[in-house]
């Protein structure tokens, strides 16, 4: 292998690794706060990427139906709870959050679809369509069983994953889509021919990571999430509602997923079920990083990206095998080194 090829592969690996790193962060965040292994993370990628491609093609993305329908279910659950607890004062807020927001976003998408409104607005609309799905998913699927064991929560995740993939097939169809590149520019750097899109991916990922760090260190809600991650009961005792932190972490996870989807949709063809595999690699990255430390998860994910790039050069038929097999030695090593912690401390 020549030096140029190695450089190319590094560039490719870092671009993909940056996406995996974002997803690994979202996985870690959700796991630390809610103990949910967030399998449906990948669906947000597919939903966002396909919605963007459809908007660019002048069609209304089917995700609006998922959004409005899911919002109605979430609202119905919350309204029933409010009425049972005789707290009608909560009703306006519930309706505003779960009915009004989705309907407004759907209307906006419906308005924007036939017009070419430009990329920035299209990206904002896609975020507005996909991000609210996070809290809605939490409300409908997870909140009723939020205190269940990790295993039960994991099974809910699998169910949510299958349900969302199925809805994706219904609303997006089986064929893949690819959106237009943010810019066609290319930069020459020694032997490398770097596309602006890959710079976008890496740049946006690192900006987002930095923003997340600021959010957790400086803001009130960020600190509340960190407190919940450190000690769930303690956080509840000092008055941080479990529903709020759950909902907030899902909102962030959905946001990260949607951003990843928007970033990669011009690089590759996205299918309704592509997101799962990308999310899974983010999960592998998080595991390589020990499923506890954010910087290690980022390093682990970049490592996965590089491993993938090099194995696709040397042994492309075994690429996935190599990437997923890496979990076994990592887990072995970690379980030998760290003492076993009971996850059911409550």
């Amino acid at each position: 292998m020549s030096f140029d090829i190695a450089l190319w592969l590094v560039q490719d690996g870092v671009t993909n690794g940056a996406i995996y790193a974002l997803l690994a962060l979202a996985m870690l965040l959700v796991f630390a706060v809610t103990r949910v292994i967030f399998v449906p993370q990948g669906e947000f990628i597919s939903y966002a990427a396909l919605s963007l491609a459809l908007l660019q093609a002048g069609r209304l993305p089917g995700v609006v139906y998922v959004l409005v329908g899911g919002g109605l279910v979430a609202a119905a659950l919350d309204i029933a709870l409010a009425l049972r607890e005789k707290a009608p004062a909560r009703l306006p807020r519930i309706v505003a959050l779960y009915v009004l927001v989705p309907c407004v976003m759907a209307a906006l998408a419906w308005w924007a679809a036939p017009r070419s409104v430009g990329l920035p607005l299209q990206v904002l609309i896609v975020l507005g369509l996909v991000v609210p799905l996070g809290p809605i998913l939490y409300r409908v699927a997870y909140q009723p069983l939020a205190s269940a064991s990790v295993l039960v929560l994991f099974i809910i995740s699998m169910a949510a994953h299958y349900a969302l993939t199925g809805l994706g097939l219904v609303f997006f169809g089986g064929e893949g889509l690819r959106s237009e590149a943010f810019s066609d520019a290319r930069f020459k750097l020694a032997v490398l021919d770097i596309t602006a899109q890959s710079l976008w991916v890496v740049g946006a990922s690192f900006v987002l990571m930095f923003a997340l760090r600021l959010f957790f260190e400086k803001t009130f809600y960020g600190k509340a999430l960190r407190a919940t991650a450190v000690n769930r009961i303690g956080a509840r005792l000092v008055g941080i509602p479990a529903e709020l932190s759950g909902s907030l972490s899902f909102l962030l996870a959905a946001f990260i997923g949607a951003v990843s989807g928007i970033l990669i949709s011009p690089i590759t063809t996205i299918y309704y079920d592509t997101g799962f595999l990308i999310g899974l690699k983010g999960f592998v990255g998080a595991i390589v990083g020990g499923m506890g430390s954010y910087p290690l998860a980022v390093a682990g994910s970049i490592g996965i990206g590089l491993l993938e790039a090099f194995s696709s050069f040397w042994a492309s038929a075994f690429k996935e095998t190599i990437v997923f097999t890496i979990i076994i030695p990592v887990l072995l090593w970690r379980s030998l080194r760290s003492r076993h912690i009971e996850d059911e401390e409550e």
Binding site: E175, L177, D193, I264, T269, D273, I278, S316, A317
Partner: protein, 378 residues
């Protein structure tokens, strides 16, 4: 009110009477969800265009989804033969799924229309009829194209699944006769976000041409990556790739891509004396009328040709036995073997005991992406 009740009763009565007649039951398993859904949906659509009769008798198609999973396909096939006592099986859109179904069909002594170019063991093949062109037949057209251009070395990149294996095997099958050598065997998955590694390896080997063994939009990823990395020589595709979505996804990068396909993709451009012109044109028009302009594809045609073959064989079988009996299934198998000169949407079928596919060179046409659409190569 009373009148309406009477009508309903009469209707129910006539339906009950109808089922007492010889109704033919066809069991179909398709992967209309799961990884193969993009193809499975087209196959499933074709059943909406089929008439309500088969060989003049009323027919019932039982279509079940196998989620593109071979184990499910086998389960579906078992359920269809044991519970529904189907007279014939049809399916599925993945090669591994179809092989599993054919196995069950052979055990249950039920004729089966295999809707993918699967390769079956002789014992299983006795009961199965392969509707699509073999990959060898199709890639033969690509080999001819390459021979005409004097291509000596070929880089291969295909799916890391059975389809990737089949296209590679067919490419190597013609290598000696057409005078080329396959120099790389790279693999990728439909859901991959990047094929940079594989493409770099091909460019390093610098072959005279590249053959892509993908299907549908999945074929676009390596093509676009090759063009982006500055590969300027011809890139060839197989018949699984030919649809409008491929061009939509590939954009300008796939302009000039050459592929082989069944005649029903370009029926308007076929010569007036092309044997399948009328049939291909009629099917493509009806399909696009129902499922939108530009929705034409080869996959729906396979399901429809499966129907046409059964339609031709059923009258013969009915002379010997009644539907729903083992004798009818045996007679249907025999009649299918004797179908001669049947014009389908993909080609002309001439079945025999030794050849359960029966297609020839008339079932393939070379096509090229020109100005954003697939055009027949003259």
């Amino acid at each position: 009110m009373k009148h309406r009740l009477f009508t309903a009763l009469a209707l129910a009565g006539s339906m009950a009477a109808g089922s007492a007649y010889a109704e033919i039951t066809i069991g179909v398993s398709l992967g209309s969800t799961g990884p193969g859904a993009s193809l499975g949906i087209h196959y499933k659509n074709a059943y909406q265009l089929m008439p309500k009769t088969l060989g003049g008798e009323p027919v019932k198609y039982i279509i079940i989804d196998d989620a593109s999973d071979p184990t499910n396909a086998a389960k579906n096939a078992r359920k269809l033969v044991s519970e529904d006592k189907v007279d014939a099986l049809m399916g599925s859109n993945g090669v591994p799924s179809a092989i599993q179904m054919a196995q069950v069909a052979a055990e249950a002594k039920t004729p089966m229309m295999v809707l993918t170019p699967a390769i079956l063991s002789p014992a299983v093949a006795h009961w199965s009829f392969i509707v699509p062109q073999t990959t060898e037949l199709m890639m033969g057209a690509i080999a001819e194209q390459m021979k005409a251009k004097g291509i000596k070395t070929v880089g291969y990149i295909g799916f890391s699944d059975t389809w990737g294996d089949l296209v590679l095997k067919a490419t190597e099958f013609h290598a000696q006769a057409a005078g080329y050598k396959v120099v790389t065997n790279e693999r990728y998955a439909r859901a991959d976000t990047s094929v940079t590694g594989q493409v770099l390896k091909i460019i390093a080997a610098n072959p005279d041409a590249v053959i892509v063994g993908g299907s549908g939009t999945g074929g676009a990823l390596p093509h676009v990556a090759l063009v982006e990395k500055g590969y300027k020589k011809p890139i060839y595709h197989n018949h699984g790739t030919v649809n409008a979505e491929f061009i939509k996804v590939g954009g300008k990068a796939v302009e000039g891509a050459v592929a082989v396909t069944g005649p029903l993709i370009v029926p308007e451009e076929l010569a007036a004396n092309f044997p399948t012109k009328a049939m291909s044109l009629d099917f493509t028009r009806r399909y696009e009328a129902s499922f939108g302009a530009g929705s034409r594809n080869g996959f729906a045609g396979y399901a429809y040709d499966g129907y046409l073959l059964l339609n031709a064989a059923v009258p013969e079988a009915l002379k010997k036995a009644k539907p729903g009996t083992p004798e009818f299934r045996e007679a249907l198998r025999g009649a299918l073997e004797n179908v001669k000169n049947l014009v389908g949407t993909h080609g002309v079928y001439n079945m025999s005991a030794a050849n359960h596919n029966g297609l020839d060179e008339r079932a393939r046409v070379p096509v090229q992406v020109q100005n954003g659409t697939w055009k027949l190569m003259k």
